[in-house]
Amino acid sequence: MSAEGPEAASAEEQKEMEDKVTSPEKAEEAKLKARYPHLGQKPGGSDFLRKRLQKGQKYFDSGDYNMAKAKMKNKQLPTAAPEKTEVTGDHIPTPQDLPQRKPSLVTSKLAG
C-alpha cells in the first residue's frame, strides 16, 4: 500500500464527513441536493423572490365571468363544486372558484 495517495484522499473524505456531522445544516443541504439534483444555484435569489412578488396570480376570463353574471342576475349563482380543481360543464368559474395558482418552488426546481 503506497503512503501518499490513499491517505490524502481519505483525509479529504474524512473532512467532508466531519463537515456533515458537525454541521446539521450542511447535512440537510446534502439531503435536499440528493432529492432535487437540478436545484438552482441561486437559492435565495431571483426565483424565490419573484415567486413572492407574484402571490395572488389567478388566470381568469373576464368575458366568461361577466356573461355568467348577466345570465345569473335573477338566479342564484351555482355553488362551486367541492372539488375545486375541476371546473367543468355548465359551471362558469368566478374568481373565488378558481384554484389558487400556487407556484410551487418544488415543481419549478424540478423543471430546472
Partner: protein
C-alpha cells in the same frame, strides 16, 4: 413567569375561538394592544377585525378578573380582484396599528395587501328623544300640525359600539404591504411593501410620498426585498426596515427626501465556511421592533431573535435561540414551505423580556436580565382557568424524558406567528391559528 413555578405563573384570562363553518377565514393574522392595554385588536384572514376590551375590575363586580370581552366586530376589508393584472387581492388583515387616543373615540389603521383604512370606533350610550319634526318611530310629522315646540332630551340607551371607516388610503402599492407604522408625531405613518416604503399623512388620502425604493431597473437583478419597517418610538425622523437577506437599514428622513441611502446598516458577519443553501432563507428577517426605550431594536429570523443596540451596527448585542433543533430539519421544512413562515416578536413594557412564537402551539419568552427562557404551550387542553402554564421541553435526541416532546412529533401546522404584550402589565395575547389566548401573570 421565570422564577419559581409555585409562586407565579401565567394563567389563562380569556380564550376566544373563531369558529363557524371550518374555513381559512377564521385564521387570526394580527394581534395588537392599544396604548393603554385596555383594548386588544385582532384581524383575521377573512378581513374582519375583532376588538376585545378589558373588563374594569370594580367593587360591583368583585369576581371580575379583568378579562377581555368582545367589544366590537366589523368587516374591515373585502376580497377584491384586479382584472387588469389578473391578481386576486386577499382580504386578509396583515397589520393593525392603533393611533394614540385623543378623545373619546378610538382610531386604528388596518391594512390588507393593497389598501390601508383608518377606522373610528366610538361608543353611543345616549339617544335623543322628543324631536319636533319626527315621531319616535322616525316618521315625519306634518309641520302644520305642530302647535308647540319642545327641546329633545338625551336618554340613556344600551351601549352601542360603532366602527366607521374614516379614511381609505389606496392605490399606492404595487407590491404587497407587509407593515404599517404610526409616527411619534401622531400625524404621519409609513406603509411598506416588498420593494417600496411610502409616507402618508393621516388626513390626506390622495397622496403619499415614496421614501424608499429598492426596485432594481431590471427585475432580473432583484436580490432582496423589504420584509418589515417601523418608525422610531420617539424620533419622528427615524425609521428602520429589514430585508430578506437578514440586514436592517436605519434611515433619517432629514438627510434626503428619498431615503435610498441608509444612515446605519446593521448586519451580523457570517462565517463563510458555514454557509449552506439555507443560509439566506433562514436569515430573512420576518419582524423588526424597536424597544419602548428607543435604544434597542429586535429582529426575528427563522431560528432566532436578536437584540441590536442602535449604536452598534456590526453585530447584535443578544441572540436568543428560539428552536435551534429545527436546524437539522431544514430539508423537510423547505419542502413543506414552513421555512418561509413569518414569525413576529414583541417586547414587554419595560423592555426586560421578549416573546416570540414557534410550532406545535409553543411560544417562547426570554428574560433579558436573568438570561432565563421558557417554552409554553397555548392550547385548550393546557389552559385550565386556575392552573398556571407548565413549561414545555423539546427533546432533541437520545432518550426522551417524560413530559418532553420529540422534534419529530411537533405539529408544524400549529404555528404561533402573532403575539402581543400589554404595554404596562404582564398580560400577553397569543394567536394560535383560529384561537386567541390571553394570559396574565399572577401571584398565587
Amino acid at each position: 413567569m421565570f422564577s419559581g413555578p409555585r409562586q407565579r405563573g401565567l394563567r389563562l384570562l380569556t380564550h376566544a375561538e373563531w369558529c363557524g363553518v371550518p374555513s381559512e377565514a377564521d385564521i387570526i393574522s394580527t394581534v395588537e394592544f392599544n396604548y393603554s392595554g385596555d383594548l386588544l385588536a385582532t384581524g383575521d384572514k377573512g378581513g374582519r377585525v375583532v376588538i376585545f376590551q378589558r373588563e374594569q375590575e370594580s367593587k360591583s363586580r368583585p369576581h371580575s378578573r379583568g378579562e377581555y370581552n368582545v367589544y366590537s366586530t366589523f368587516q374591515s376589508h373585502e376580497p377584491e380582484f384586479d382584472y387588469l393584472k389578473s391578481l386576486e387581492i386577499e382580504e386578509k388583515i396583515n397589520k393593525i396599528r392603533w393611533l394614540p387616543q385623543q378623545n373619546a373615540a378610538h382610531f386604528l389603521l388596518s391594512t390588507n395587501d393593497k389598501t390601508i383604512k383608518l377606522w373610528k370606533i366610538s361608543e353611543r350610550d345616549k339617544r335623543a328623544e322628543g324631536y319636533n319634526l319626527k315621531d319616535e318611530d322616525g316618521r315625519l310629522r306634518d309641520p302644520f300640525r305642530i302647535t308647540a315646540l319642545r327641546v329633545p332630551i338625551l336618554k340613556p340607551m344600551d351601549l352601542m359600539v360603532e366602527a366607521s371607516p374614516r379614511r381609505i388610503f389606496a392605490n399606492a402599492h404595487t407590491y404587497h404591504i407587509n407593515s404599517i407604522s404610526v409616527n411619534s408625531d401622531h400625524e404621519t405613518y409609513l406603509s411598506a411593501d416588498d420593494l417600496r416604503i411610502n409616507l402618508w399623512h393621516l388626513e390626506i388620502t390622495d397622496r403619499s410620498f415614496n421614501i424608499v425604493d429598492i426596485k432594481p431597473a431590471n427585475m432580473e437583478e432583484l436580490t432582496e426585498v423589504i420584509t418589515a419597517a417601523e418608525f422610531h418610538p420617539h424620533q419622528c425622523n427615524v425609521f428602520v426596515y429589514s430585508s430578506s437577506k437578514g440586514t436592517i437599514r436605519l434611515c433619517d428622513m432629514r438627510s434626503s427626501a428619498l431615503c435610498d441611502r441608509h444612515s446605519k446598516f446593521f448586519e451580523e458577519p457570517e462565517d463563510p465556511s458555514s454557509r449552506s443553501f439555507f443560509s439566506e432563507i433562514i436569515s430573512s428577517i420576518s419582524d423588526v421592533k424597536f424597544s419602548h426605550s428607543g435604544r434597542y431594536m429586535m429582529t426575528r429570523d427563522y431560528l432566532s431573535v436578536k437584540v441590536w443596540d442602535l449604536n452598534m451596527e456590526s453585530r447584535p448585542v443578544e441572540t436568543h435561540q428560539v428552536h435551534e433543533y429545527l436546524r437539522s430539519k431544514l430539508c423537510s421544512l423547505y419542502e413543506n414551505d414552513c421555512i418561509f413562515d413569518k414569525f413576529e416578536c414583541c417586547w414587554n413594557g419595560s423592555d426586560s423580556a421578549i416573546m416570540t412564537g414557534s410550532y406545535n402551539n409553543f411560544f417562547r419568552m426570554f428574560d433579558r436580565n436573568t438570561r432565563r427562557d421558557v417554552t409554553l404551550e397555548a392550547s385548550r387542553e393546557n389552559s385550565k382557568p386556575r392552573a398556571s402554564l407548565k413549561p414545555r421541553k423539546v427533546c432533541t435526541g437520545g432518550k426522551r424524558k417524560k413530559d418532553e416532546i420529540s422534534v419529530d412529533s411537533l405539529d408544524f401546522n400549529k404555528k404561533i406567528l402573532h403575539t402581543a404584550w400589554h404595554p404596562m402589565e404582564n398580560i400577553i395575547a397569543v394567536a394560535a391559528t383560529n384561537n386567541l389566548y390571553i394570559f396574565q401573570d399572577k401571584i398565587n
